[in-house]
Symmetry: C2
Subunit: 252 residues, 2 copies
Amino acid sequence: MQRYFVPSENWDDHNVYIKGDDLHHISRVMRFRTGHDIICNHPDGQAAICEITGMDEHHISAEIREWLQESTEMPISVTVAQALAKGDKFDHVLQKGTELGASAFIPIQAERSVVRWDDKKATKKMTRYSRIVKEASEQCHRNKVPHLHPAQTISDVLAQSDDFDHKLFAYEEEAKTDAFQTFAQSVGRMTSGERVLLVIGPEGGFSPKEVVLMKQEGVTPVRLGPRILRTETAAMYALASISYHFEEWECT
Amino acid sequence: MQRYFVPSENWDDHNVYIKGDDLHHISRVMRFRTGHDIICNHPDGQAAICEITGMDEHHISAEIREWLQESTEMPISVTVAQALAKGDKFDHVLQKGTELGASAFIPIQAERSVVRWDDKKATKKMTRYSRIVKEASEQCHRNKVPHLHPAQTISDVLAQSDDFDHKLFAYEEEAKTDAFQTFAQSVGRMTSGERVLLVIGPEGGFSPKEVVLMKQEGVTPVRLGPRILRTETAAMYALASISYHFEEWECT
């Protein structure tokens, strides 16, 4: 069943009201008419089967038929702080990271990021990023759309990182040492409901200054397997592994 | 150190001879000269530090200095049978799948693959695919370049699947059932040195006929976490999880 994320102000006790892009998607792309059922997600994570009861050019109204007892959210809340990278790599991280269960994303302006964050284009960029995470959430049946933070430097992120229970950074040099800290050691210390910050560097890696800063602030360097991963693959590895550990392995 | 995969016929007891694209890469792109060290990988998985001792327009010779005792190959050999998909998705699966440790790829012409395999363009396509897996192997420091099979149907693959110790297919319907077979149950039964076949369907999923056929042939349906993954994300989830399980978790 097609799924739409509807802002909280568009819900009342019995109905949901859909506007904007989703109105267009329902009426023009899917060509649904009154009587058709859709799933509407509330930003609090709940979802309901709703029947379309009315539509005009300004809004669609749908009556709440049944609240669903489903949860597809990871038991661990992972915030991916991903360095800006060339081409459409950041878009890929947002899309795949959403599928793989990330709860938030922070675009990082790292010292070695080849791409520079342009404040003039920020609004346009954030709008595109928001659309990517919303569409990916609908497609993969998430209960919540991941939160999108504005672009920051690593020191900005660290300054606001006290709320996290675990802080990790992917460090390729770690993969080359014998006494490496395995990622699994860190994952093994996590428990359901905790918050994790995962920092991923750009193509050229972190600068020595950034590495020192992160270590000083208690961010643990981890290797993600023995192979050297590209920047856009690192978060995928980490998210898939955390999902595997908590959503698959602990179910056996 | 820059790494090159050199065919076995270009090795003798003391030297390695490099031709073709790699010759161009060494002399023109990297601008290495005699005296410079590179890593050469033998197709059997061994690698050595070699010093460039001579170069002309036809070949580069390099003397073997030191055999490396490294292994970045997964202890489980995973063959990814991936349905052909739209756009550059298959290219992404090859590139990311190589980074994540896949040992072979089979392009699958599934019943619902929107993309049709064109035999006339096959040679050109396979050449591009080969280049992607070779370059990704060099970039992520693999010991072996994954093997690339010609395109096949699911029944072709099954007819030659007796050598695999474990056969799995990603089945999104499995994620919706309560009594799902977790992927981790299957991974938990794997042991080092075994061979795994992992079949991933196209955007539209497997046809009912393909599902029946795979089940009859002993291919186990698995869910890959509770969210619905895109076709190009499924193999990444599975490979990252197997790497996590055997290369990270079992190291703790």
